[in-house]
Symmetry: C2
Subunit: 672 residues, 2 copies
């Protein structure tokens, strides 16, 4: 038997709820959490439902006492479904759950209305109601108790002369509100789980990443660049409007089995090696490649970047070159072959002898976990608050859940981007267990159908509660086939798609701006002369078409809240398969951006776009202005159906701010 069988309300189907509450839903400061639940009781009594929530300072791992539970009355949506919402205003963790109870007073009140309508005798009913009011009074504070007893007295006055006053009192909204403030706590049902929310800072939701290799940032062509050279590029990156500058690993690079240019098995003298082959005599994951500069140089770069509104993101790749200090100091952290050598990375028959993976089944797994955690802590102490984690899917899930949990408890401002280009369940799991942002399949989604399906999955299924996409048209590892043949127009189109579909996006900039499109070999998705293996020399010219477009897109993203989240994404019909049209809107409907992209880089494409205006909160016959944030042209559109023509030789996209303030015909009717 349950502790108190008088709890007559049940609560189920609470959403969002990830894996029975094991994982939190994610929000950023200032967001709202909308919660729905099925709340109902037996019989015909009305029920009331509350959403309860509280702030948990700096995550559940910390010993601090959670804040007091707050409550919000939920609203009935029909069919026993209820909804409520609350705002998250602090970094860290929140919790929520749902409570419900039979609302005896409201039930009585509603019945009374029916009795009155049917002309029934209601003397005893009024007394029944007075009893409910008095019960509420017994649970209320002094002032409200007094007030409630005054109401009860009016209900009890009874008799023909006072019945009108009693009736009025009975149906007074103020009385209902007052009584409902004092439910009988013994009979309140609490949902069986308390559900977590992880609240991060705004940049977890809205960020523009620019990736460059510091060693290619130098002013002297092909000389090894330094942090000081990167400093000199900050104005350029800030001018394009990016706010995260991401650098591949900055640590000493191994010499054993070092790869040569174009991933050659053996390096030539002078070859600089891959930054992901981490560790050498000079040190490991908490050390800096001497050629780049010192920790002091790094600090100066970080501070100068911050002054320009740019945060540095470090690349954390948990793997070691054979020369990494851990290899000698912690042999247990690596897998050993039967011949006593350490197991290098493999994807049989391919061998990567310059890389030793870490063994998460090590007997000293605890030592390993602490050391890896320590790497993050070291760089956090150096002021780094954004980490792009390399191949997190090849490290134990349990490690990430613990490590990110520990860090977010102490440093809730730290952001993690998961670089896991792998299977869907694996990518989702990494997001669930703490990654703030995730690389996606966007890089390979090209057609209208593919893009529509993928963005719908990311923004309109449960995935949206925990996985924040970060769209990249390219990376140093990936030169997608489409960019190899599409030319400038496709580079432009893919950039527009990334920047307008996802509030987090990034680009491996220097190669993108240079329209680099030669693959290592036909059919490969790797760059020829990849910066992963050699120093490149780039033109940092902001007047080229791609930097110009980046500037416009990033300005549009900063000016338009609709582009700063992935809320209320609507795809609109076009009658041309090469034209894709979609809009984003803020929750309050105050900002709407409609993007139309010509996916054909070779031909002008035109057609009719039919906007689902009702989904945008607009009348079907509305007249409204659309302002192109790229071309700065304006058009007056009428109704949902409008003609669009996009010439890839000019610019293959419209990014249109939809201005609803234009009067509709209804307004004119009103003034006639």
């Amino acid at each position: 038997m349950q502790a108190d069988g008088r709890k007559r309300v049940v609560i189920e189907g609470v959403a969002p709820e990830m894996d029975a509450g094991h994982f939190p839903v994610k929000r950023t400061v200032g967001d709202r959490v909308r919660v729905e639940a099925d709340v109902f009781g037996d019989g015909h009594d009305h029920v009331m439902a509350w959403l309860l929530y509280r702030y948990v300072p700096h995550g559940p791992q910390n010993g601090q006492a959670p804040g007091p539970w707050q409550q919000v009355k939920m609203t009935a949506l029909g069919n026993d479904r209820w909804a409520g919402e609350f705002a998250v205003t602090e970094l860290g963790a929140y919790q929520y759950t749902v409570a419900g109870e039979v609302d005896h007073f409201e039930t009585w009140r509603s019945d009374l209305e029916k009795r009155i309508a049917a002309g029934q005798e209601i003397d005893v009913d009024l007394l029944n109601g007075a009893k409910l009011v008095e019960e509420a009074a017994s649970r209320a504070g002094e002032a409200d108790a007094k007030e409630l007893r005054r109401w009860a007295a009016r209900l009890k006055a009874g008799g023909p002369s006072t019945q009108k006053s009693a009736q009025e009192a009975a149906l007074d909204e103020a009385l209902l509100a007052l009584v409902e403030r004092y439910p009988d706590e013994a009979k309140i049902t609490l949902y069986e789980r308390v559900l977590p929310v992880r609240v991060e800072r705004e940049r977890a939701r809205f960020s523009g990443w620019y990736e460059l290799f510091p060693r290619s940032a130098g002013a002297i062509p092909f000389a090894h660049g330094t942090f000081a050279d990167v400093e000199a590029r900050l104005e350029y990156v800030a001018g394009l409007g990016f706010d995260v500058l991401y650098m591949p690993p900055i640590h000493p690079i191994g010499r054993s089995f070092r790869k040569g240019k174009n991933n050659a098995v053996t390096a030539e003298p002078g070859d600089v090696g891959s930054p992901w082959a981490i560790g050498a005599a000079e040190g490991g994951h908490t050390d800096i490649l001497p050629e780049l500069g010192t920790l002091k140089d790094f600090q100066r770069l970080r501070q100068k970047a911050e002054a320009l509104g740019i945060e540095l993101a470090l690349d954390i790749a948990f793997q070691c070159s054979p020369d990494h200090p851990w290899v000698r100091r912690h042999p247990l952290w690596f897998k050993h072959r039967a011949d006593g050598t350490i197991q290098y990375a493999e994807n049989p028959p391919k061998k990567y002898q310059d890389i030793y993976p870490l063994d998460f089944e090590s007997e000293d797994w605890e030592g390993l976990w602490k050391a890896l955690h320590g790497v993050f802590l070291y760089w956090i102490e150096q002021g780094v608050k954004i980490f792009r984690v390399d191949n997190p899917h090849t490290k134990a899930f349990g490690f990430w859940e613990w490590c990110i949990g520990e860090i977010q408890a102490d440093y809730p401002e730290v952001i993690f981007l998961a670089e896991a280009f792998t299977r869907p369940r694996v990518m989702e799991r990494l997001a669930k267990l703490g990654y703030s942002q995730s690389y996606t399949y966007f890089t390979w989604r090209n057609s209208k159908e593919e893009l529509t399906e993928y963005l719908t999955e990311l923004t309109q299924t449960e995935v949206k509660e925990y996985l924040r996409p970060n769209f990249w048209p390219n990376t140093p590892d990936i030169l997608p086939l489409s960019l190899q043949t599409g030319g400038l127009a496709l580079f432009q189109a893919r950039l527009v798609l990334a920047a307008t579909m996802s509030s987090n996006y990034g680009v491996y900039g220097p190669a993108y701006e240079a329209l680099e499109h030669e693959p290592l070999r036909p059919g490969a998705e790797e760059y020829l002369h990849s910066e992963k293996y050699e120093i490149r020399s780039w033109t940092w010219d902001a007047k080229r078409p791609i930097p110009q477009l980046m500037k416009k897109l990033n300005a549009a993203r900063r000016a338009h809240a609709a582009l700063q989240a992935n809320e209320h994404v609507v795809f609109h019909e076009t009658d041309n398969p090469h034209l894709i049209a979609y809009s984003k809107q803020t929750a309050d409907g105050g900002d709407t951006v409609l993007t139309v992209v010509n996916l054909d880089p070779y031909n002008t494409q035109s057609g009719w776009v039919t906007l689902a205006l009702w989904k945008l909160g607009m009348d079907e016959d509305a007249s409204y202005e659309v302002y192109d944030l790229l071309s700065e042209e304006r058009y007056l559109w009428h109704g949902g159906r409008n003609f669009v023509e996009l010439n890839p030789e000019k610019i293959p996209a419209h990014v249109l701010s939809v201005r609803k303030s234009v009067r509709t015909e209804k307004d004119f009717d009103y003034y006639r």
Copy 2:
């Protein structure tokens, strides 16, 4: 940090899983439970997954130790999804969960194949494999350990002369199977919840209910019938093929505010009252209305019914007439009005003064729960094992969960049918918390679209795991509008639909067979001269059309396993909106029944039925025989598209056994 960070596999998305394992999935003895889960590890290592299950004797409430965990290897479905299944062979409760681990040996073996294919040196790899085999040996029993060490020795022999033998050994399936039997238990991940299964007897899944009022079973017209009279009707009911005989409450009927014929507010002398107004001077819920007979008579009826393969189902209605003994003995179990009187049932402005509802918010709720539980126990002791519970949705959910749980722990053979015609979430909740079967909305689903949508919801969504529908075309409370005007053809059609769509179905027989269709007043769904308020006199003539159809339908249900469950329901396209076509098939595909019904009771309807043969495991060009279980006619059909014509003046339905044994064209090709 988790206890052992070396567990690298994660398990999520386990299905079925009701409310995070709070509620069991339902099966009957002999059924299988198919479980799916996402099981995956980090990196590229292969994983293995097991479905674990065990029998829990007589429910978790009993103190007996659960049986040992059994394990079944799960099969990869792709995209990290795995599936496994087990059979439930005992009444009561089972539990299941999922386990997973990295399969190092299988990973090694698969890598080795690639190395061999690429012509790589594999000496060290063979030694690596030998080490894995030796590790398995260290976990194995003596005999297998010896065997494993022999394998390891072959792998280690190495060198050019023995490498062929070593390679053969390495890739031998027998070695793989043997190694996989000894996983490293320390590294096994167990899913975080153990999930329950409730196993009931076959009749919970497959039953045909016949409802009659014993007081109308008499041989002398309008004289009060007795249990002995019901005895005399058993041959008739058994002859129609039903296996559950359900009687409205058999308890003493209240006299206060007794309702007259046709629900008149005051009874005339001689009016027998409603059996649902339970309790009088003669007793309450554990007593028998003297006019029906004695407990001994009841026992004789029950035994005679059982001898004919019929079980008695009692109607348990937890409400009291003002004359019920509980009213005086347990005033706390009822709600009191402000004037001191007991609150009668109401649906304002309607009043039901002959009924006192029980108050589940009573201070003595524990006493009330025990008394109600005691009512079931009393009748179980009298040999009753099926209960139809009246309006369970007006009693506390917590009570049902406890009461049914207690009873099923001690008497797992007891079946409960929930008579809750109410909102979807409420009906679903009652099913979740233990009801074996549920009345449904079938009674009001008439059109092809309505029936298709509803049966799809019941058989193809998560609902199928816990809610077993029982389809009733009528009840003493409900004469649906459709039956009021549809005539014999509609009575026939609705009977066919109920009997073939749902493996559990029932009928309020005497009125149905008599084609009773006059409502109390126009637009009402209540019977004129309802048996609820008066004794009726029926013709028990099995030669009438409806009894004849019942006989054929029940015979078809007994002969065809496809109709004994709601598995693999497929709707087939028809080009006539009045024709509905659907099939049921057993899990092994061995039995298929296709039903086609003309929903128009007034006109012959014909059209093309296009069978989705591929969903039935048949070739699109198959020739096959369909045998009509109603008309006993046979047809040879070719391919999916076949013509059907149904004349409502003859019989508005085909119930076709699909006999796949006819040779297909492919077979002929084979013999050519």
